[in-house]
Amino acid sequence: MIYMDHSATSPVDPEVFEAMKPYFVDNFGNASTLYSLGRDARKAMEAAREQVASLIGAKPEEVIFTSGGTESDNIAIKGTVYRLKNKGNHIITSAIEHPAVRETCKYLEKNGFEVTYLPVYEEGIVRVSDLEDAITDKTILITIMHANNEIGTIQPIAEIGKIARENKIYFHTDAVQTIGKIPVNVEEMNVDMLSLSAHKVYGPKGIGALYVKKGVRLEPIIHGGGHEKGLRPGTENVSGIVGLGKACELAEKNLLEDAKYITNLRDKLIDGILNSIEQSYLDGHRTKRLPNNVNLRFTGIEGESLVLHLDSKGVAASTGSACSSKSLEPSHVLIALGLEHVEAHGSLRLTLGKENTEEEVDYVITAVKEVVETLRKLSPLWCAIPGAERRE
């Protein structure tokens, strides 16, 4: 199998798994207990906290472990606005956030908050001038993702953070897709909160972290035994935390080298497909995008069919087509780019990882071409496109 869906999840790096292994059967202690088994677990946890902090340029005590990116986003957003609800009720976000942020905002809109969704234009990037225009004296939170999970576009976080600071507004960024892929530094990015998740960076699923800048106080959304400074109670997932820590350590070590290697594969893949398939288009900015993200669209083709055919050719990929989603709504990200529904249906996302090779990229270019041709033969839309070759 050729796995090109790394933005959905990544395999656990064998080194990460080795690091986690002792914390299941043998070193199984509860990290909040007094005896040595518990203290050992605590030590492992705190070492992991340092590894996470190091990757993002934070202090260990600014890192809170959570059950994943979704929870981190929820804690950051609800935790801030519930605390500050007496100060204001306005939130600014972008039109292309992950559902963990977007649905949280939608929920808050139903509960007395107002949300501005900044547009991203054709290139998929918010404009700082729009942000400045959107700020009111009721604005209590700005939450804008570092890079988008579907189209990979990178947002001007440091600039946004600067404006947030100047206006004394809390600023959260969802960096789930960026850690380990491009440099992430909480100081340089001027963020107050930052979400990350282990399973996007060769760590295990079900564990993530939230950076909370020293001095920033949040209201918890889950209550219980006071773990993680009361922000995330529940018996600590020690093996998961150790895995997250190790994944961050590896990510930090290999970041630049991996990014270079993967960017090269990405460009080969984009050019290969655009050049060999007529009426194929790239979604999102050509260069201000994640090293590993390729998002394309093919006239006359529906994405779920494309993904299923690629699967039978041994290629794992994803789509923003409505038909592949539970709600039968097309991707809000593609719509935010100004695409028509029918165009959004034809999208294909290929997200690369460090274990992909040039040969795999070549194979995928050919496979996509074949599948697109097969599906266009079935498509009543294709024949209708002026200029398209008709089969006789």
Partner: protein
């Protein structure tokens, strides 16, 4: 997610294409919603002799189109009209709940083709139809 039978019809769709001198053509769906289906029928002595389809849509949409062409061929017009939306899904050993509308689409397309045949509207050229159904504005 999909049964083996759905996957089989999706991967090896039967009766793909157009019938140039079709006796009935039915198009349903809307590309904006991600699905568009055209079914062509050839009728002789009240029996459906040949069926072909073209579909833009998900795995279920393609599989249900293919399935219904197999189900319709050889049937009388009345028998074909009696094929319900659920029959298609059942014949495919079930569909995920969210995909049931795709089987609706297939049954509807077949029925639309039969209506078209009944109304003797089959004289338009396929090229024109092709233009008519493309509402994506390109």
């Amino acid at each position: 997610m999909y049964s083996d039978k759905v996957m089989d019809h999706f991967q090896n769709p039967r009766n793909v294409g157009e019938i140039e001198d079709a006796d009935g053509v039915g198009t349903v769906g809307n590309p904006t919603c991600g699905d568009l289906m055209t079914i062509y029928i050839k009728v002789k002595d009240n029996v459906i002799e040949d069926v072909k389809f073209k579909t833009f849509g998900c795995g279920a949409a393609i599989a249900t189109s293919s399935m219904i062409t197999e189900m319709a061929v050889g049937k009388t017009i009345e028998e074909a009209l009696a094929i319900t939306r659920n029959d298609v899904a059942d014949e495919l050993e079930g569909l995920p709940p969210v995909k049931m509308h795709c089987s609706n689409l297939a049954a509807d397309a077949l029925h639309a083709a039969i209506d078209n045949y009944k109304e003797k509207m089959g004289e338009k050229k396929p090229e024109d139809r092709c233009k008519d159904i493309c509402s994506c504005g390109k």
